[in-house]
Structure formats: structure tokens, C-alpha cells
């Protein structure tokens, strides 16, 4: 018996117009944490989907612990011992933890036994979770624990994790890493997909790097620098964002006592938020997901109207103005959810350009849209932000998440906003593209724009912000210059302890 758990040989999968995986081969050893690295569209998702039985390969084969592994559906993969934690959770807000876990199992045990097993597993692996809690009340980190526990209950031999830390606070990341190391020590193999190179260096034994669907190399992360790995991934070196030394101008955005009642069953009310933003300044807002990020963006973009006098743009009250009026006055925004909020899935990129740029780019005259001009604008965005797509006629939903993100961010930046509010600017974007988006934001600030960046990526906020504030249950901590802060303080500021509160599972 060899030490190889999963062996992949010559896997190839082509979709119309693109080869997602081209002759990919590598091995995952028993009891190792194996990183899978690559840019957006490098073929990571397709590869794990083949391992998990969601997609059938065109060519090549896999063997799992010596036996042929060719699952035609996920349940077959699960039976073989493969489990997967997806980037986007598939949980029902209105059900409790145990019910959600049961829904994802092949043969769920009786509810009482299940609750007991959830407690056992969650204590064993240091993943505090109360089976009776409603999922709607959980933080993103806790939701992820539900998914992980659901996988662990099936005693997997290979656990696939797709970008698990993108929604976690530093403290939660540490908890997760402890769990993964414990699993590894017990002999479980983990295939870990991430863009965060430092994490991979800290956690993984081996890394396989994909570029344009091909395996371009394997390395031992601990022996490589993040920069080396990133360069293998991109195929060329990329610039780290330039240090910022900016002169601040007048106050462009003045938010005073902004409050918003809870919207919907699982929304977060905003409570008495105040801050000032000057020309040339980047203000970073951190916080665990679900602490008012979406609501704050929508209150600033004009989708939610707030009490008169709460939002002033260049000295004029815009609290009662809708999105179009604020856009025309110079306040632009980019929401986090790309499909359905920032962009219409079935509309082309050209049409999605018109969505926010109609007025500012003069794409209409007498109410009639100039489609030629609109297409030019879309092409400009595609080119300037390196959006990988056959052209502006393509539907937004056909783009990979990272590419659509580049389009959405580029669409707003190229309209020369005076104030830009942006939520999760580099969510799901690869390292090189993330760096270029950050650079574009810094360039915009250097030109005198004021920028609010809401993000869950603290490294990102530290890198580009002048001041930092944290959202916690709809409240904003007073923004402080980043130079005065260290990571530990920030974690506490944004309620890093929040994830720990439920550590004491009842009984």
C-alpha cells in the first residue's frame, strides 16, 4: 500500500471555447494538507468538481486509495470518502444547525442522536457550535463550521475546502487552522484552495499550482516565498501596491448619526454611524460579515434612504436622494454581490455598463441609449481591468466571479467618482488582479477621490487604507489611522471575540 490517497493522471476537461483543465496530474498523500493555487479561471473549481463528481472529465483518470475513482455524482464521491466545503454556503437561514446538517446527509440519524454527535464532533475538533441555534443568527464563520461538521460527520478521507478563510476574522482563521491540523494528524487529507499565499505557507505541506488549466508546478510552500508562488501562478511578476503618501483635501462625504431600521428578517440595523471622509483619503471598514456591511453600502449608495441630514456630499444633504441623483453628484458605489445586485446576470456586459454609467458617461441623448458608445465604454473597462471574456456582448453570468468583479469595479472607477463606496473589492479575485484593483483604488485616491472600502480582508484594508474603522452589529467604531494599529487590536476592534462567544456550548 502506498501513501498516496488520491492520484490524478492527465485530467482534461474542455468547455465550449475554453479548456478548463489540460492534462493535469498530481498526487495527494495520506494525511497531508495539499494546496491548490491558481488565478481566477485557472481551472481550480473545475478540477475539484471532477474529484467531487459534479463534472465528468473528458480524458484522464483518478484513483482513490488504489481504486479507480470516477464518481458520476457527488453521492458516489461521498461514499468513497470525499467531502467538500463550498465557498458559498448552502444553508437555510430559517432552520437550526442540526436540521441543516441533516439535510445534507445521505442517511441522517434521529434528530436527538444527531444533535449529540454534532456536539461531540464540534468539541473534538474545537469548532464550537450549538446544534439548536438558528442558522440565520450565525456569523459567516459559524456557518462555515456547520458545513465543516456536516462533512466531518461522514468521516471523510479527503476534505476539499474552497477558499475557506475569505469570510473569517483572524481569530476564526486560527481556530480553523487548529481544526485542520488536528484532522491531518488523524490521517485525513485536505485539499485546500485559497488565494492567500501566506496562509498556504503557514498551513500546507505541498502546493500544486494551476495556470490556464495546466499544472505549472508543485512546491513546498514552507520553503517558498509568497512572491515566488504568486509569480508561478501569474506567470509574470506583479507590482505590490505603492506606498501611499497623500495630501488630504476637503471633506467630501460627511455622515452624521446615520441609522437604519432592520430590513428583512436577517438584516442588520445600522446604529448611529458617523464619519468624515476627505478628498484623497481611503477609509477602510472591517468587520465580520453580516454586521451591517451591505446595509451601510446601500444607505450610502441611496438604495436605502435615511433621515434628512445624515448623509452630506460636498456639503449638500443627499440623505433623501436616490442612487441616480447621488451618482450624478459624484458618489458612486460597488456592492458586494456581483450577480443580481451589482450586475444583471442575463444582460450583456454592455448593458451592465449602462446600468450605472448611463448618465455620467453620456450614454443617452433624449432618453435614447447610444449602444455604440455604451459598447465602447464596456470595451474600455474590459481592457483597462483585464477582464477575460470574448467580448462585451457576453452575459454577465457567463463570466467567472473574479472577472465579473474586475468589470464591476472597473465600471465605477472609470467613471471618475469623487466619492467611491466599495464593498469587498477583491472578493474571489486572484492575487495579481487583486493587486491591480487595489492599485487602481490608490490611483483614484491620488487623483483626489475619497474612497470607502468595506472588506473582510484585513491585509487588504491595512495595505490601502489611511484610517480604519470596524463594523460590529451595525455600529461603527471611531476610525483610527492604521499606523496606530496592529492586527491584534484590529481583531478586537471588529469584535473578533464575536466568533468565540458561542465557544461555551451548553451542557
Amino acid at each position: 500500500m502506498s501513501d498516496t490517497l488520491l492520484s490524478i493522471r492527465g485530467l482534461t476537461k474542455a468547455y465550449p471555447g475554453v479548456v478548463a483543465n489540460d492534462d493535469v496530474s498530481f498526487d495527494i498523500q495520506k494525511g497531508e494538507i495539499h494546496a491548490l493555487l491558481g488565478e481566477n479561471g485557472a481551472g481550480k473549481s473545475t478540477l475539484v468538481k471532477m474529484i467531487y463528481g459534479l463534472v465528468a472529465p473528458d480524458k484522464g483518470d483518478m484513483s482513490f486509495d488504489g481504486a479507480t475513482h470516477a464518481p458520476s455524482k457527488p453521492s458516489e464521491a461521498r461514499q468513497a470518502g470525499v467531502a467538500m466545503v463550498f465557498q458559498h454556503f448552502s444553508l437555510f437561514d430559517a432552520l437550526n444547525v442540526a436540521e441543516n446538517v441533516a439535510l445534507g446527509m445521505e442517511n441522517p440519524p434521529a434528530p436527538r442522536d444527531l444533535a449529540k454527535r454534532i456536539r461531540e464532533v464540534s468539541e473534538l475538533y474545537g469548532l464550537p457550535l450549538d446544534p439548536a441555534r438558528m442558522v440565520g443568527t450565525l456569523s459567516a464563520g459559524e456557518r462555515q463550521r456547520v458545513e465543516i461538521i456536516r462533512c466531518l460527520l461522514q468521516d471523510p478521507r479527503l476534505l476539499i475546502m474552497d477558499e475557506p478563510t475569505s469570510v473569517l476574522t483572524p481569530q476564526e482563521v486560527e481556530i480553523l487552522f487548529e481544526t485542520l491540523r488536528k484532522l491531518k494528524a488523524e490521517g485525513t487529507s485536505i485539499l485546500y484552495i485559497s488565494h492567500k499565499l501566506e496562509e498556504i505557507r503557514a498551513l500546507c505541506d505541498h502546493a500544486t499550482i494551476l495556470r490556464h488549466g495546466k499544472n505549472v508546478g508543485t512546491c513546498i510552500p514552507a520553503d517558498s516565498t509568497a512572491r515566488e508562488m504568486a509569480e508561478m501562478m501569474v506567470g509574470s511578476s506583479f507590482a505590490t501596491p505603492a506606498a501611499h503618501d497623500r495630501d488630504l483635501g476637503d471633506v467630501l462625504l460627511d455622515v452624521t448619526g446615520l441609522s437604519l431600521p432592520q430590513q428583512g428578517d436577517f438584516g442588520t440595523p445600522l446604529r448611529d454611524i458617523s464619519f468624515q471622509l476627505r478628498a484623497g483619503e481611503v477609509l477602510g471598514f472591517g468587520g465580520v460579515a453580516g454586521n451591517g456591511q451591505d446595509e451601510l453600502l446601500m444607505a450610502l449608495s441611496g438604495e436605502y434612504l435615511t433621515e434628512a441630514g445624515s448623509v452630506a456630499l460636498k456639503g449638500a444633504d443627499v440623505s433623501r436622494h436616490g442612487p441616480s441623483a447621488r451618482r450624478n453628484a459624484g458618489l458612486l458605489s460597488a456592492p458586494e454581490e456581483r450577480l443580481g445586485h451589482a450586475a444583471a446576470p442575463d444582460m450583456s456586459l454592455t448593458e451592465n455598463g449602462v446600468l450605472t454609467a448611463a448618465d455620467r458617461q453620456n450614454l443617452t441623448s433624449n432618453g435614447l441609449i447610444n449602444w455604440g458608445k455604451a459598447q465602447d465604454f464596456a470595451e474600455t473597462v474590459i481592457k483597462a481591468f483585464d477582464v477575460r471574456t470574448p467580448g462585451p456582448h457576453v452575459a454577465a453570468r457567463a463570466l467567472s466571479g473574479g472577472n465579473l468583479q474586475k468589470y464591476v469595479v472597473g465600471r465605477e472607477i472609470l467613471q471618475d467618482p469623487e466619492v467611491l463606496v466599495i464593498n469587498q473589492p477583491t472578493w474571489g479575485v486572484d492575487a495579481a488582479a487583486a493587486a491591480s484593483i487595489r492599485q487602481a483604488l490608490l490611483d483614484l485616491a491620488a487623483k483626489g477621490a475619497a474612497i470607502v472600502v468595506i472588506s473582510q480582508d484585513l491585509d487588504e484594508l491595512m495595505e490601502i487604507s489611511d484610517r480604519f474603522g470596524a463594523l460590529n452589529e451595525g455600529r461603527l467604531s471611531a476610525p483610527r489611522p492604521v499606523t496606530e494599529l496592529d492586527m491584534e487590536q484590529i481583531g478586537l476592534m471588529m469584535g473578533g471575540a464575536h466568533g468565540m462567544e458561542v465557544a461555551h456550548v451548553e451542557h
Partner: protein, 361 residues
């Protein structure tokens, strides 16, 4: 095993060809149905689709009927399609059609027997206003109280039918009609008559209005920013709000427009082909127009063609009843099949079939 797989983007080819395929399937299955009823399938299909246009004896009568029937269908369907694009489901066009007819006819009859050239324009305006006002009821209830416009607009059809019965036998009844229900005959009153513009073509002002509506809707949806906003609202409501579209205004606009066009269609019908307001003058155009809107892919040009096709099945269906003694219900079934097959083939616009072999584990 057969699986449906979502396409990365909607197929252009299927968007165009699924209505044609639906028509073809309807002919095949409809033919079988007629065959089982004892008629020759080929003869039945020929009677429905060919004879109304080319039969030496009937064509002279039925050809003009094509525009007479297609006109209101197209006019109503254009209005409905714009709402459907925005995800606003006005199912009560039949009621708005009736109210438009009553208001249009009533506004004219108030000035009987004036021969002023302003009478007919006034009646058109009143027809538009009547349909608009009737559609504003579900619109305002939806925006103020969050009611479902499908239910409210549909229920209002039955209210409108009752008002129609009351109008025909009460306040709009012809005083010289010897007590029979029904209004004065507009065919005998030149200033208010919506007659044929070119003899023996069936072309009347309602058909002209339908053609104008097709062109206007085409420009509106493909070029105008408000048309874009309407489409955006239907495709992604949250993105529309982000773009700055006011959802309340879209609801009021779409229901108002579809109601006004349905009302105008009713007015043109009452003063033209029907000739008077009678108890049962509404012929179900408001409901059939829903099929026409979908058959035409909610696309103005498509609706123009679909309206003509639907009109043809109406005329051909009557002919088939007459010539082959097929039951009327079979003809209605045949028309319903068209929508059924259209919706079924429509799936392939966004999905494709994957045949996956069962693989050995």
C-alpha cells in the same frame, strides 16, 4: 439518463426557433387529435392554416378577418409584454378591454348625434383612459398594500363583465332599440364609426394603432433608457434598485400602459367590427393576448407575427368547425397547445439536454 444543463448564456438560435418548433409540434399533435375525432389530420391542418387565406370560396371573406382579429390581439399583447418584461403580470387585460370599450363608447354616445370630427379622437382618449384607470386599481393596491397584481387584475375582469352587462342593458342601451340590450350601432353613426380604411382589407384605426404600438415598443425596449430600466427590473430587481430605478414607478407605468392599450383595443373593437356595446361583445382577446405575448417572445416584432398566427387559428378554427364539424372545444385545445409547446420548447433557450451514460463505479 437525460439531464438538463444550464447554458452559460441564453441561446440565440433557440430564442428564434422555439416558437417555430412549437407551431410545428402543435400541428403534429393537433393533427393527431383531429384524426382521433374522425377528421383527416391533413385536411384539418389545411383548413386551419391554409384555407382562410387561399381557399377560392372563403378567402375573400376571411382574409380581411385576419387583420380584424390580429389588431386587438397585437395591441393588447404589446402592452402586456412590456409589463411581463418587468415581471409585472397583468392578467386582467380582458377587463381593461371591456372598460376601455365602455368608456370610449360612452364618451361618444354622450354627444350623439353630433357629427363633429372631434368625436372619434375623444372616444380614443376615453378608451385609453378607461383601460388605464381599470389597471390602476391593481397597480395602486400593489404599490400601497403589496397585493398580488395577478389576482387583483384577474378578479377585476369579472367585475368589468358585470359592469358591461349593466351598461348594455342599462345606461348605454339604445333608446331606440325597442328594449333590446345593446348600445346604439356605431356603424350607423359616421363620426363615431371605426370603419375600414381601405375596403376589403380589414384595416381599421385599431390595426393602425397596433402597428404604431409595435414600432414604438420596439424603439422603447431596444433604445430608450426607460425601456432598459423596465427590462432591468424584470431581470434583476435588486440591480435595478442599485441602478436607481424606482420600483413603484415601474409598476404604475407597466400596468397603466398595458391597461391603456387594452382599453384602446376595446374601444376600437366596439366602434368598429363589433359595432356596438353588447352584453357579450368581449371575445376573450384580453386572455388570448397573453398567449400572443409569449408566443412572440415578448418581442414586438415577434408579437406582430404571433398575433397574425393566432388570428389565423381563430378564423381557421371557425372554418374547421363549419366544414369538418369539429367541436369548438377541440379548436380551443389546439390553441392552448400552442402555448403549452411554446413553454416546453422555451426551456431549451436556457438549458440544453445532456445525455449521460451510466458509468460503472
Amino acid at each position: 439518463m437525460i439531464r438538463l444543463e444550464k447554458r452559460p448564456q441564453p441561446s440565440k438560435a433557440w430564442t428564434t426557433f422555439s416558437p417555430l418548433l412549437a407551431v410545428l409540434l402543435t400541428m403534429v399533435v393537433g393533427g393527431l387529435l383531429f384524426g382521433m375525432l374522425g377528421a383527416s389530420p391533413f385536411e384539418a391542418i389545411r383548413t386551419i392554416f391554409w384555407d382562410p387565406l387561399f381557399h377560392p370560396n372563403f378567402a375573400a371573406y376571411s382574409r380581411p378577418q385576419l387583420l380584424v382579429k390580429a389588431g386587438p390581439l397585437i395591441l393588447i399583447a404589446i402592452g402586456l409584454s412590456i409589463g411581463f418584461k418587468a415581471g409585472i403580470w397583468n392578467i386582467g387585460a380582458e377587463g381593461q378591454y371591456i372598460m376601455g370599450a365602455i368608456c370610449g363608447a360612452g364618451a361618444g354616445l354622450a354627444f350623439y348625434p353630433s357629427e363633429s370630427p372631434l368625436i372619434f379622437p375623444l372616444m380614443i382618449f376615453a378608451g385609453l383612459a378607461g383601460g388605464w384607470a381599470w389597471a390602476m386599481i391593481p397597480a395602486v393596491l400593489k404599490t400601497r398594500l403589496g397585493t398580488n397584481e395577478i389576482l387583483v387584475s384577474l378578479m377585476l375582469v369579472y367585475v368589468a363583465e358585470t359592469i358591461l352587462a349593466s351598461a348594455a342593458s342599462g345606461f348605454l342601451r339604445n333608446p331606440e332599440g325597442m328594449g333590446f340590450p345593446g348600445s346604439r350601432n356605431f356603424k350607423e353613426w359616421g363620426a363615431a364609426h371605426n370603419g375600414e380604411l381601405i375596403a376589403n382589407t380589414g384595416m381599421h384605426w385599431g390595426v393602425v394603432a397596433a402597428l404604431i404600438a409595435v414600432i414604438a415598443a420596439y424603439v422603447f425596449l431596444s433604445r430608450h433608457i426607460q425601456g432598459f430600466n423596465v427590462r432591468l427590473t424584470g431581470e434583476a430587481p435588486r440591480a435595478a434598485r442599485f441602478a436607481g430605478v424606482n420600483p413603484t414607478r415601474v409598476v404604475l407605468f407597466c400596468l397603466g400602459l398595458s391597461g391603456a392599450l387594452a382599453g384602446a383595443a376595446g374601444m376600437f373593437e366596439a366602434t368598429g367590427p363589433a359595432g356596438q356595446i353588447s352584453i357579450d361583445f368581449n371575445a376573450g382577446y384580453g386572455f388570448t393576448a397573453i398567449i400572443v405575448a409569449f408566443l412572440g417572445r415578448l418581442n414586438p416584432v415577434g408579437i406582430l407575427l404571433a398575433g397574425l398566427l393566432m388570428a389565423l387559428t381563430y378564423i381557421g378554427g371557425e372554418l374547421a368547425q363549419l366544414m369538418l364539424s369539429l367541436p369548438g372545444a377541440a379548436i380551443q385545445l389546439f390553441q392552448g397547445m400552442l402555448l403549452f409547446f411554446l413553454l416546453a420548447t422555451d426551456v431549451f433557450t436556457n438549458y440544453r439536454i445532456r445525455l449521460s451514460r451510466k458509468e460503472a463505479a
